[in-house]
């Protein structure tokens, strides 16, 4: 008998308390983000700096080293570099990325010396066919970028390189490599083998 009454009491009290929990939610703010139209700011702008969205290549600072192509585990990057016999320059004739195949792992942007290939915060790419997700970055053969010993001075390239190096600096630095002085808990700056002049900009704080 005590079990019988106990069951009833337990049911009533536990349901009572559960109802109180749910009722209290009428007085709490909803968490819904009304993507995409009813947002105070675009959702892309709220994403953190490290967000791995679509890949983008800055051809101005691409050295044509093929490190990204080698790093890609699923071969979604295709690069062709030709040697121009007259000018002795390397020509980028192809830099295709299949964004439909890409798994946004970020392994390609890690070895990039200049931050030329990097993830953006864009992610909206719905399309009607897989082929149209192939992004072609080289429209006409482009001369690859050669880092300058004295630091970059071309005003057209400096901001791009700065941005690229900031991206590179986000990545962690191996133990043995020399470290740039850093503030508390700030990510270590990676030594810039290709562009010594690049200032290590403080990473953007996203919250």
């Amino acid at each position: 008998m005590s079990g019988y009454v106990g069951n009833i009491v337990e049911s009533v009290t536990s349901i009572f308390d559960g109802m109180a929990v749910t009722f209290s939610h009428f007085f709490r703010r909803p968490y819904t983000v009304q993507y995409p139209d009813r947002m105070p700011v675009r959702v892309q702008d709220t994403l953190p700096y490290r967000y791995r969205g679509f890949l983008e290549v800055d051809l101005e600072i691409c050295t044509g080293c093929l490190a990204c192509e080698r790093a890609c585990p699923i071969d979604c990057i295709l690069i062709e570099v030709l040697k121009d016999k007259e000018t002795k320059q390397n020509l980028l004739v192809r830099f295709d990325i299949d964004l439909a195949k890409c798994m946004y792992c970020g392994l390609c942007s890690e070895p990039c010396p200049t931050g030329s290939i990097h993830h953006t915060r864009e992610f909206e790419g719905a399309d009607y066919s897989l082929e149209s997700m192939v992004r072609r970055f080289v429209l006409e053969p482009t001369v690859t970028y050669k880092p300058k010993k004295a630091g970059e001075d071309d005003p057209a390239i400096v901001p791009i390189l700065e941005r690229g190096m900031r991206y590179v600096n986000e990545f962690a630095v191996p133990e043995a490599a020399p470290k740039a002085p850093k503030k508390e808990a700030a990510p270590a700056a990676k030594p810039a083998p290709a562009a010594p002049a690049a200032p290590a900009a403080a990473p953007e704080v996203q919250s």
């Binding site: 349901i15 109802m19 109180a20 749910t22 939610h25 709490r28 968490y31 819904t32 009304q34 709220t46």
Partner: protein
Amino acid sequence: MRAYLDAIAAGYPTVSPALVYLIGMLAFGALVVFVFILPVAGITSWVERRVWARIQSRIGPNRVGPGGFLQWLADGLKNLLKEDVIPAAVDVPLFRIAPYVVVAGFVAAFVALPFAGSLIIADLNIGILYISAITSLVVIGILMAGWSSNNKWSMLGGIRSATQIICYEIPVGLSIFPVVLLSGTLSMQGIISAQGWAPTSWHMFHSPFLFVSFLLFFVGALAEGNRTPFDLPEADSELVAGFATEYSGMRSLLFFLAEWGNLYVIGVLVSTLFMGGWQVPHFTDNGVVLAVAQFATMFVKAYFWVFVAMWVRATLPRVRVDQFMTLCWKYMVPIGLVNVVGTATMMVVLPQGSIVLRWIMVAMTAAILVQFARRVFFHLRRANYGRLGRISEGAA
């Protein structure tokens, strides 16, 4: 109602009065269905989604119309326009009819539902008996749907629903008994007239037996309406969608129309039987104003219970089939029987009831509500839900 029809029949002496009655009743029925039942059921669907959403820290449908109010119209239109898929292996006639049987079963209940003192389609003298009988028609429709779908999940759903509705008729009936004993009538208007507008005169607070009866009735009504925690027939995590699995488009919507409409029926029944129905203080002699006030009172009371049903659904898990039967036969039926005997004894000992007991019951309910509010505040205080991350910052 009858007076209007008599007047019309008098105007057309050549037409048989029976035909006038028939046409008049059909027209009035259609009017009630389209003007009242469909919108109420539809709006209930929208309210339910908004209520759930708020409980779940979401916003809910808010795009169609002001605050998403017209969402139900959009959904209804969409479902009307959708293809009505009838799978190849189903029993076609039964499959087609089933939703209509379900809807008919629940719409027929409106015949005896009171809206206000003068607003009732037919004040049957067996009102409550009629309603509890006619709402059981739904089970036939659900069984038909489950069986004719030629799908094992549907069939399990249909069978569960049948057991459920048949079993819970008994505790529901038993919990209506004390009310009928008190009011001495089965007529809906009669039951309401036996109560007053003040809470102390409601049947619910007559004695502890009646209060328990009220709880039993509400639980039993939820079970009969296939609502959580008794939504076994359409248990989506077990039976996919139960008896409605194979339905699409409007036919599928009709089942849900019946479910949402049924909520309102439950609300009206609870307020009629236990909460004084449309009773308002007699503040004016103007019949129309009084009728409007009565209608509003009834609607608010009924809709409060609709809201509670939604809230319960958002809170509780689902019981299992055997536990469901245990609850019915081991708990609700015996308690219901005790209630009947207890009320009868009360009526012999205290034929006029006891106003002290009524006040104690009201005070007790108030104490429960206060305790509830305290728990709500406790949960609010405990939850540290300040600005945390991007999500809450992005919220509108």
